[in-house]
């Protein structure tokens, strides 16, 4: 059979080294060339057999002198210190891109850790805040009581209209808790004032307010939704907002 000038491409075709265009052209040629078809069949049958022969086990014994000579001439054994030095030089002086990325990440982590450790300040506890602005019993007056009722009414209205799922962050915030606690302090003072005035309706109202505020003050992230739902129910069931309104309109 006459030799085809394209038959050499069989090698790259079988080993999948042809680019797409040449491959397509060669496949088209194969259809019409019997010589190439024959060669391809034979080559395909032989190639895997020869590839298997690659996996010969090379024994170390005959090559020991070779490795010894190379070692003596090119890489005499290094001490541990030298090995460490070499490794460190690779790591710090000529790092690969992957190593540089790893170094950057490590530095970032260390930076964040140190930053948190050195500069992060705990928020001032609410109790301490309250202590810095004590409400003196001497200041309690009828006007103070009216302000207290207005303030309480607004807070309770807010709570009644709040959706716990959406306003979770606001309700559990330190600032909000501080307001509730401040109101609690005022509640105690106002109740005393109400008792002094012999106003039982007002004293009862303040007692009810105290219970609700107590719940609000004890609100924590874990029980936020549950507590708020209770408080909202309490506000609704006790008609406390209505009562506050009626006391306000009646006058103290």
């Amino acid at each position: 059979m006459k030799e085809c000038p394209q038959q050499n491409l069989i090698v790259d075709y079988v080993f999948r080294e042809l680019d797409t265009k040449t491959k397509t052209e060669f496949e088209a040629h194969l259809k019409s060339c019997q010589s190439c078809q024959q060669q391809l069949r034979e080559f395909k049958a032989a190639a895997p057999v020869f590839q298997k022969a690659r996996r010969i086990h090379h024994p170390k014994r005959p090559a020991q002198n070779y490795y010894k000579t190379l070692k003596e001439n090119f890489y005499p054994s290094m001490s541990l210190a030298q090995r460490i030095h070499e490794w460190a030089a690779d790591f710090f002086l000529t790092p690969s891109i992957a190593m540089r990325v790893a170094q950057a990440v490590a530095m970032l982590v260390v930076g964040v850790f140190l930053g948190r450790f050195l500069f992060f300040q705990e928020p001032i506890p609410v109790a301490v805040k309250n202590e810095t602005s004590p409400i003196l019993a001497a200041n309690v007056s009828d006007q103070f009581l009216r302000h207290y009722l207005q303030e309480t009414e607004m807070i309770l209205l807010d709570v009644a209209n709040t959706n716990p799922a959406e306003d979770r962050q606001i309700l559990s915030s330190v600032k909000q808790l501080a307001i509730y606690r401040q109101l609690m302090q005022k509640t105690i003072l106002c109740r005393e004032h109400a008792e002094e005035l012999n106003d039982d309706v007002l004293a009862n109202l303040i007692n009810e307010i105290e219970l609700i505020l107590l719940d609000l003050c004890n609100t924590e992230d874990e029980n936020l939704i549950e507590t708020l739902q209770n408080v909202r129910r309490q506000i609704k069931d006790s008609h406390i907002l209505l009562e506050i309104n009626s006391v306000e309109s009646r006058g103290i």
């Binding site: 050499n8 022969a53 996996r55 070779y66 090119f74 890489y75």
Partner: protein
Amino acid sequence: MKKDPDAKLVKKAKMGDSKAFGRLVRRYQKKALYLAYDMVGNYTDAQDIAQNAFFQAFKNIRSFQEKSTFSTWLYRIIANAAIDFQRSKKRRQASSLNQPAYDEDQQIEVMDTLPETGYSVAEKIERADLSRLIRELAEQLPPQQRAAFVLKYFHEKTTAEIAEILSCDSVTVRGHILRATLKLRKKLKDER
């Protein structure tokens, strides 16, 4: 040309850093020996060839222009040395026909060459026998053909890489591989 994974070490070695060259040697000493062995067929000569290749590479590293990868350059040195060795061996054999074709001291027991894989002993022996037979038959190929054959099948080089190593064009390499494969297939059939 693909990026040379040894580029950094080569640069250092070029500047006279013998440790860098030592690391290149460590990296390629096995492959160099195996290539030389695959091309000449015995360990004594393979060791000499691979060893000399490293000495030559060390001597000429400054003139290495990095147009190819270091491994291709080293393979070229080994392949050229092995081809020259085979040619001179043939001449020697022609002048003294009584000399044995290989160094009998270096013959390895069949059991030594068994690959440590999950094959049964019978399979291992069969595979080892076949490997040995193919390698023996490959010895009969002309040096260039044998080099192309060995690089393709035993060292998994692409045609382009073989062309670089043997300093010839891809068409010649394909021709060598095709002819060597078909020739050995026929011989293998006859032997079996």
